[in-house]
Amino acid sequence: MSVNRLQNYINGEWVDSKTDEFVKIINPARGELLCESPMSTKAELDAAVQASQEAFPDWRNTPAVARARYLHRLIEVMEENFNELSIVQTREHGKTIDESRGETRRGIEMVEVASGIPTTMQGFNLEDIAHGIDEYAIYQPLGVFSCIAPFNFPFMVPLWFLPFAIACGNTFVVKPSPRTPMSQTKLFEMLDDVGLPPGVVNMVHGGAEIANGFMEHPDMKGVTFVGSTPVAKHIYRKCGETGKRVIAQAGAKNFIVIMPDAEIDKAMVSLIASFFGNAGQRCLAGANLLVVGDDKTYRSVVDKFRDAAAAITVGDGLDESVQMGPVQNAESKQRILKMMEKGIAEGAKLTLDGRNLNLVGDLPGDCFLNPSVFENVTPEMSLAQDEIFGPVASVMRAGDLDEAIDIVHSVPFGNSAAIFTNNGKWARQFQHDVVAGNIGVNVGIVAPMAFFPFGGMKDSFFGILHGQGQDVVRFFTECKVVISRWF
C-alpha cells in the first residue's frame, strides 16, 4: 500500500518536494503510519520566499477591507470543516477530541480577530502641530514573514501569526513541525480554497535547514517561533545578526500556588486540566503545584489532587471516554521517563506513578504515560527547575505567600503563574510581584484570548512585541510618520 506523502504549497500550487528524505508521521495512540512528510531542500525554501516576495507588492496594495474578506471566507471554510480539522489534530498529535476541537476554535478566533484589521491597523494624526502643518502616523506592512511551528498545537499556533501578517499586507511562509505536519497541510488546503493570490501564503515542510534558512534569507523580514528555550535563544541571536524582527516564544515551568483559603473543590478541575490537559504538553501547563499552609491544608489539597489525577482515563483521543491522550512520540516518553528517574534519584517521592500504564482499550504503550505526581520536591531539584512537557506534577510547599513568590522566581522561566485564593490582597500581591507574562487568579490555564497579547518573560520569551492582539499587528507593520504642509 502506498503511503501518502505531504506536499509543499508554493506560489499557489501543491508541489512534490525534490528531497529524498522523508519523516514518517505516526499516530501516537495507535502506532499506525499516517503519512510521510518531506524534509524539504533549501532550494524549495528559496522558491517559497521568492514567491512571497513577488506577491508582496500587489498584496500590500490590496485594500485592507479586501484582505480581510479573504479571512472571512477562511473562517467560513474552517467552520464547515471544524470536526475534520479536529480529528486530524488528534490523529497526528494524540490529544483528545475535545482538546482538538478547542484548538480549532482557538485557531478560528485568531482569524476572526485578524479580520478586524481595517480597524486595528489604523494610525493616528494631529492637525496643526505647527501653523498649517499636520502630522500623522501610518502603519505599513514590511514584506515576507515566516513561522516555525511547534508540535503541541499544530493547527492553532501558526494562526497566532499568519492571519495577522497577511491581514496587514505582508506575505507569509510556514514551516510546520516535522512531527505534526498534517494539521497545517489541512489549513493550507483551506487557504487554497479561499483563493488568496499565489505567493501570499506558502508552506514548506522540513526541519532545521528550513528554519535556519528563514533566519538567513535576505528577503525575510521577520521570524516567529514557538518552541523550546534553547532554540528560541538561537533564533533570537541569529535574527539579531541578520537584522530581522523576531517573536520567539519559548519554554516554561509554570507554578500554581494554592493558598490556605482556596476553594479547592471548585479549583480541582481547573488544576487537573492545567497539569494533565494535552498530556502536559502545553507551554501554559501547570508543572509545579506549590501549596501554602500547614500540614492539614497540604494533605487535603494534595490527596484530592492525586486522587483526581489517578482517576483520569488515558487512551486514544478519538475515544470519547478518554480524558488524556498519549505524549506525542516515543522519544518524548523516554525523555520524560529519564526526568522522572532523575527526580527519584534526587529524593523526590513519586506518590502517583504514571509509568504503570492503565489504558482504555488495547493500545501499544510506546507513547503513553498515566499521570504522575511527585511530592517532597524542593526548589533546587530538576523536577522543579526543568521543563518536563509531560503529564508529571511536582508538588512543593511554602510557609507563606512571600516564600511562595521567591520559589516561583527561582526557576529561569516566566511564561505563566497562577494563584488560587479568595483573598484579594494576596491575589493583588501575586499579580503585582510575580515575574511571568501571563498571570492567573483562580484560573489554571492562563491562555490569553486572540485579542490580547500572549505574554512571556525571562527564558520564556525572546523579543519585544508578543504574538496575538495589537502587539502582533505592530510586529507585522512599520510605523511611518508624515509631516505635511501645503503651500
Partner: protein, 138 residues
C-alpha cells in the same frame, strides 16, 4: 457507559434528542389525535440537539476544564425504550417517562459543568425547563 468528557456528553445529547424525536414521530403516525403535539415535540427536540451542538462548538476552548468535571454521569441512568406503545394512553405515559429522563440528564449535566463552559449548562437548564411544559392529559 460513563459520560466523563464533553464530547461524550454531546454524543449522548444527540442520541437522546434524535431517539426521542423518532419516537414522537412514530407516535404521531400511530395516534392521529396526538399528532400535532408529538410532531411539535419531535421538531423541537431536533432543534434542541442542533442548538446544544452549536453552543458547544462555539464556546469550546483549548483550555477546556469540563473534561474532568463529569463525575457520576452514566447513560444507564438516562436511557429509555423507543418502541411505540399499543395505545394512545400508553404513548402519553411513555412520553412522560422520556421527558423526565431527558430533563434529569440535562439538569445533572448542567450542575456538573456549571461555571466551566457557562453557555452550555445554561442551555441545558433552559432545555430542561422547556420540558416542564410537555404534559399531555392521560
Amino acid at each position: 457507559m460513563k459520560l466523563n468528557t464533553m464530547a461524550a456528553v454531546m454524543s449522548f445529547v444527540s442520541r437522546i434528542e434524535n431517539e426521542s424525536a423518532s419516537f414522537y414521530e412514530g407516535c404521531a403516525a400511530k395516534f392521529p389525535e396526538l399528532k400535532d403535539a408529538f410532531l411539535s415535540w419531535s421538531k423541537e427536540n431536533r432543534k434542541f440537539e442542533k442548538n446544544v451542538k452549536r453552543t458547544y462548538f462555539g464556546v469550546i476552548t483549548d483550555t477546556l476544564e469540563s473534561n474532568y468535571a463529569f463525575e457520576g454521569l452514566d447513560t444507564d441512568d438516562y436511557g429509555f425504550e423507543t418502541d411505540v406503545p399499543e395505545t394512545a394512553s400508553g404513548a402519553v405515559s411513555k412520553s412522560r417517562e422520556v421527558e423526565d429522563k431527558i430533563k434529569a440528564f440535562y439538569l445533572k449535566a448542567a450542575g456538573l459543568s456549571d461555571g466551566l463552559m457557562a453557555d452550555v449548562p445554561r442551555l441545558f437548564k433552559k432545555i430542561a425547563g422547556k420540558r416542564e411544559d410537555r404534559r399531555l392529559p392521560e
